[in-house]
Symmetry: C2
Subunit: 376 residues, 2 copies
Amino acid sequence: MKILSKAVLPIGFKAEGISCGIKRSGKKDLALIYSDSVATAVGVFTTNKIKAAPVIITAQHIKNGRAQAIIANSGNANCMTKAKGLNDAKAMASSVAKVLNIKTSDVLVASTGIIGKPMPIDKIKTGISYLTKKINKNGLNNVAAAIMTTDTAPKKVSVKVAVGGKSLTITGIAKGAGMIAPNMATMLSFIVTDAAIPSQALKKLLKESVDNSFNSITIDACMSTNDMVLVLANGKARNMKLDGADLKEFSQALSYVFLELAKKIVKDAEGATKFVQINVSGAKNDKIAKTLAFAVANSNLLKTAIYGENRNLGRIFAALGQTGINIIEDKIKVNCSSLKKKNIKIDINLGMGKSEATVYTSDLSEEYVRINARYN
Amino acid sequence: MKILSKAVLPIGFKAEGISCGIKRSGKKDLALIYSDSVATAVGVFTTNKIKAAPVIITAQHIKNGRAQAIIANSGNANCMTKAKGLNDAKAMASSVAKVLNIKTSDVLVASTGIIGKPMPIDKIKTGISYLTKKINKNGLNNVAAAIMTTDTAPKKVSVKVAVGGKSLTITGIAKGAGMIAPNMATMLSFIVTDAAIPSQALKKLLKESVDNSFNSITIDACMSTNDMVLVLANGKARNMKLDGADLKEFSQALSYVFLELAKKIVKDAEGATKFVQINVSGAKNDKIAKTLAFAVANSNLLKTAIYGENRNLGRIFAALGQTGINIIEDKIKVNCSSLKKKNIKIDINLGMGKSEATVYTSDLSEEYVRINARYN
């Protein structure tokens, strides 16, 4: 696997991001990713019972395992917007389909931003007709910018992997940076590849990769209504069937892209000054390890202590004990790297088994409060 | 029931609070409550798996349903302090018992403060020998002050209720103000009464009162290792057996004291600028109502929005949906009072049943972050 210094679109993909006027700031807010041919497509979605309209529509459109375009906007989540919201999400898909002469059901829709406001659908439609003409092979940066909300930087990762007799490209983008909690992805991420891979195999890889990346991060324990991770594989690299060592290498490359994007989200967490990796080992099983790692990662008291560079191991123990999971104080070993550094590693060995889990989180700063006190 | 404007000790109780040098600030940090005769005693304790030494010792001492004194300190939680911690907690009880000539098992011990530091037991012992001489009928204010940590004000409530042929006094004190989450009390509270009531009956009342008061508040979703609520009823009012309407009235008075103390804790939450009452109604059952009310109350995003006086109902819906409990967006009615005011009421009707629950919380401010970033 080769990590590219600049993110690029794989063969057969075009993209662009523009400002269509959803954001009052005038920043980019509408993006389109397009594949020259229909791609294998899989996705995972928020498990929040309150689902935004684009989540509902895209889940329907992706069911058949294929898609050809992703239309995404920031600045408005199109959530709690009732029948108009569903119609608007459908209209976004059909507007793209019409201009590009593809099926509406092959267009996936994603939105992020404020909840509960009607979509300015006319602006978006005008934006789509412009965008469909502008898509190009170098448009990825603008897409990554156009899906940002409180993110301070676009998040992109590109790798190349030589498998199936070809060099395949896997490229992903993502946005954070608040309302980040596990159990599905709690953000938007789109991964595109020119690999040829059946949707069932891709679905399996997606599930594995998400569990160890986007489902292993938390910023504020708040789960979004709009999360989705979409993977499009258009087969343009014309590789042979991926199996054995090739499949493994492809899988590792895909996981790398997922994990790097997940880490980028945590590093750009709202108000964050620290990137914190929490490893719980010595657990009886994986579920316990992950539950405890998240309990520590979600402790406001620990996060504020880390922000204050204030070594307070008691807060780790209090968080572990709060879960109700059986732990034995005297068996627990905690190792915590210097809090003065930006990257912090907390190793917790429970001394009760062989399972482990790693989660990633940020500190909790005054700036997080300021950002979310005034976000509107 | 008559609410007293000044909190007083019931008949037969003496108390005092002093500074013995645990807190570097020189503020009061050691308190003793004493009953002239052995009292009926019941308690509830943190469900955190990491339990402070005094929690372990006091749970043992109170098992027989009787006690005569409570020795409590702030400034040090005596938690994660291993064998020395247990010995120190025992020593606090035995020191009190020795001077007052009562049984060690009739002395209850409570500690609050920093986790993981050894207790300055010599200072405490010296303090106890002084304190046991100083206890008096007017010492309640000093006790309430001596159990404070980040609290900005002492928390006291006194009521009188005429039942069982006598006027009974119920007086409670409590401390907050961080690490406050449900499932047991997440703070210290001591309630004393001169009522005569068997321990089984008192235990039942305690359970009911706690569920609707201390177990219905959350500040930061962080459960303490040191929580306990202790009730001592010494029977000095010489009332008749409490049953029927009398028991009901006593129970209501006790519940009032609990709820007022719980509210005082939330009002004095670390960094809080708002007191928020969240009522979830129209739920299928009580458990669902309470789970959803807590999900809303614990949302960092909602709490920061309230701090910013920023109306953002989407964050309420996102928090409700995150629980995985089945809710129907179109049936939910949310009514939220003005965010400009200090006291805020959020009514959420799920439209799915007849059960309801009320929980109390605060907003999340920059000051909460500052307090907990530097707490040590």
